[in-house]
């Protein structure tokens, strides 16, 4: 430091004489703190984030990075204030009083902070997971002190307060490596049910995205108004979820059509009549076929 000062005096001697010696030293320390220590702290926090992300996960990496960065910035700021001659004792005292006031005034924020700590400890999800909260589904971008940030599938940014996440039912879509797709299929009454079961088995077996194990679930779930209802549950690796859902529906439609299995659908008869004439309503002895083409009368 002394050598540096001597060197500065040689170069800028005339000008430095105008400035008190203590102030020059303080200024140099401040410069070192701001331009050397602070970037080092930030770089160090980045290194720590990488290390902890690799070792424990993205969420832990993010938390450690923020802790180190915030602590470093606060400490550096306090030291800078100290260099400028501010006494830290009254500052901290004032901060305590202000903090108390703020705490009373911002109970929600405090609740969010505490909820955030619970979220970090409980780890119901991590950065990069896809979660559903209420009507919102998205990828977790960050888990912060007050809130969790999501990117929705249509690329919107959503901020959900931590308190909401603690209180609400949350679904982590990508937590487990495999998922089941449940498809409700109805077949017309009178259909050969063992044939339907066999066909559904074949559909699952022949689709390369469908996992052979766990075995597909095929169950008759009830007798509906116009159909015998099946639950067809097929397992898939989470990455192939959408691809399998699309292809399996296509397979069911094609296979059922090729094997003459009717998928009933609601019918609507549109009757057009003038106000003078009576509506041609009546009863019919025959039960209309569920798969018959919709009719229009009038």
């Amino acid at each position: 430091m002394k050598e540096l000062l001597d060197s500065l005096k040689k170069t800028w001697g005339d000008y430095l004489e105008l400035i008190p010696e203590g102030m020059v030293q303080s200024s140099i320390r401040v410069i070192v703190l701001v331009f050397l220590v602070l970037p080092t702290v930030i770089a160090f926090s980045n290194v720590l984030r990488k290390f902890f992300t690799k070792k424990f996960g993205a969420q832990q990496g993010l938390v450690v990075q923020k802790l180190v960065r915030y602590a470093g910035v606060i400490l550096t700021t306090m030291l800078v204030f100290h260099e400028f001659g501010f006494s830290l004792a009254p500052l901290l005292g004032a901060a305590g009083i202000v903090g108390l006031g703020i705490a009373f005034a911002s109970q929600t924020s405090v609740s969010n902070i505490i909820s955030g700590l619970f979220l970090i400890a409980e780890r119901p999800f991590s950065v990069g997971d896809a979660i559903s909260v209420g009507q919102t589904t998205g990828i977790v971008l960050s888990i912060d002190t007050l809130s969790v940030k999501l990117r929705t599938l249509d690329n919107r940014f959503v901020r959900i307060p931590n308190e909401t996440l603690i209180q609400t039912e949350l679904i982590n879509i990508t937590r487990f490596p495999i998922r089941r797709i449940d498809i409700n299929v109805g077949v017309a009454y009178g259909t050969d049910l063992p044939k339907v079961t066999g066909l559904l088995k074949d559909i699952a077996t022949e689709n390369p995205l469908c996992l052979m194990e766990p075995a597909p679930l095929i169950a008759v779930t009830g007798m509906g108004e116009s159909s015998v209802d099946y639950l067809f549950g097929v397992w898939v690796v989470k990455e192939n979820f959408l691809a399998l859902r699309n292809s399996i529906l296509d397979d069911i439609h094609t296979q059922f059509a090729e094997n003459g299995i009717e998928i009933p659908f609601p019918h609507r008869s549109v009757i057009i009549s003038s106000s003078e004439s009576e509506l041609p309503l009546g009863t019919s002895d025959t039960t209309s076929s569920a798969g018959a083409a919709p009719t229009a009368g009038g």
Binding site: R175, F176, P177, I178, T205, P208, L209, C210, L211, M212, E213, P214, A215, L217, A219, G233, W235, V237
Partner: protein, 253 residues
């Protein structure tokens, strides 16, 4: 040039190079290649009556060889014997499994594209919260080595030993194919032999890959080296319990 599965299409770099253009048909896989004007094009399963969806590489004109080599599947294979069998305590048996292979197009030994000769179903091996995606092969477990000259299938010898006090029901076998070499002997493709020792209960099976060609072969030529050495992490259970899945099915009902 048309090559079918009956032709000896598996080549070593330097042994024989493919012509500048051609088409190969292996089971469900059709692959075409063309090489001209410093551009190499490969198309996998091109549509029958339209322009293939070429994958293109720019390569140097001179000194290049296109070759097709067999590869073990890129994931482990769960094998379901069509007829389940039991292994009594302190007994061992050697079985032979036929595994459909992938084929890889290589340029001077570098893999350009790889595709399975047969689309295999996928399955999950493990628990609901942890495990691995594997291919599914349901076939006969042979007690004698089958005579196969199909260039898209490898015969994989498996030595099973039951060192537990209980009878072992062999209904599923997870074969870690990534740790197996491929050999050729008398026109037949073989994998390295795998030794599995079952210790019973929840203990993991000990899985070892025997170095070199299968001991039952006289002499064999190394065709393709293993994708990766068999690590401790890759060696898990081989004969799985389906307890949790059974419970899940009961709850569903």
């Amino acid at each position: 040039m048309e090559i079918s599965t009956a032709d000896p299409i598996w080549l070593h770099p330097g042994e024989q190079s493919l012509p500048p253009s051609g088409r190969v048909q292996c089971r469900e896989l059709t692959a075409c290649w063309e090489f001209d004007h410093e551009e190499l094009r490969v198309a996998i399963n091109p549509p029958p009556e339209s322009e293939p969806n070429w994958q293109r590489w720019t390569v140097e004109t001179e000194g290049g060889d296109i070759s097709i080599v067999p590869m073990v599947p890129d994931r482990s294979v769960v094998f379901e014997p069509l007829t389940r069998f039991f292994l009594l305590p302190a007994q061992s048996t050697r079985i032979y499994i036929e595994i459909p292979l992938n084929i890889a197009f290589k340029w001077n030994g570098q893999t350009l594209v790889e595709a399975p000769s047969e689309t295999l179903s996928q399955t999950w091996f493990g628990e609901f919260d942890a495990g691995e995606v594997c291919y599914w092969v349901a076939a006969r477990a042979h007690r004698e080595a089958p005579v196969s000259r199909d260039n898209t299938v490898a015969i994989s010898p498996l030595m099973l030993s039951n060192r537990s006090d209980d009878t072992l029901e062999v209904s599923r076998i997870c074969l870690r194919t990534c740790g197996l070499n491929l050999y050729r002997a008398d026109g037949v493709i073989w994998t390295s032999e795998t030794e599995v020792i079952h210790r019973g209960g929840d203990a993991q099976s000990r899985v070892d890959v025997v170095d070199g060609p299968p001991p039952t072969l006289g002499s064999a030529t190394l065709l393709t080296s293993r994708r990766q050495p068999l690590t401790r992490a890759a060696v898990g259970r081989t004969f799985r319990s389906l307890m949790e899945w059974t419970i899940s099915t009961i709850l569903e009902e």
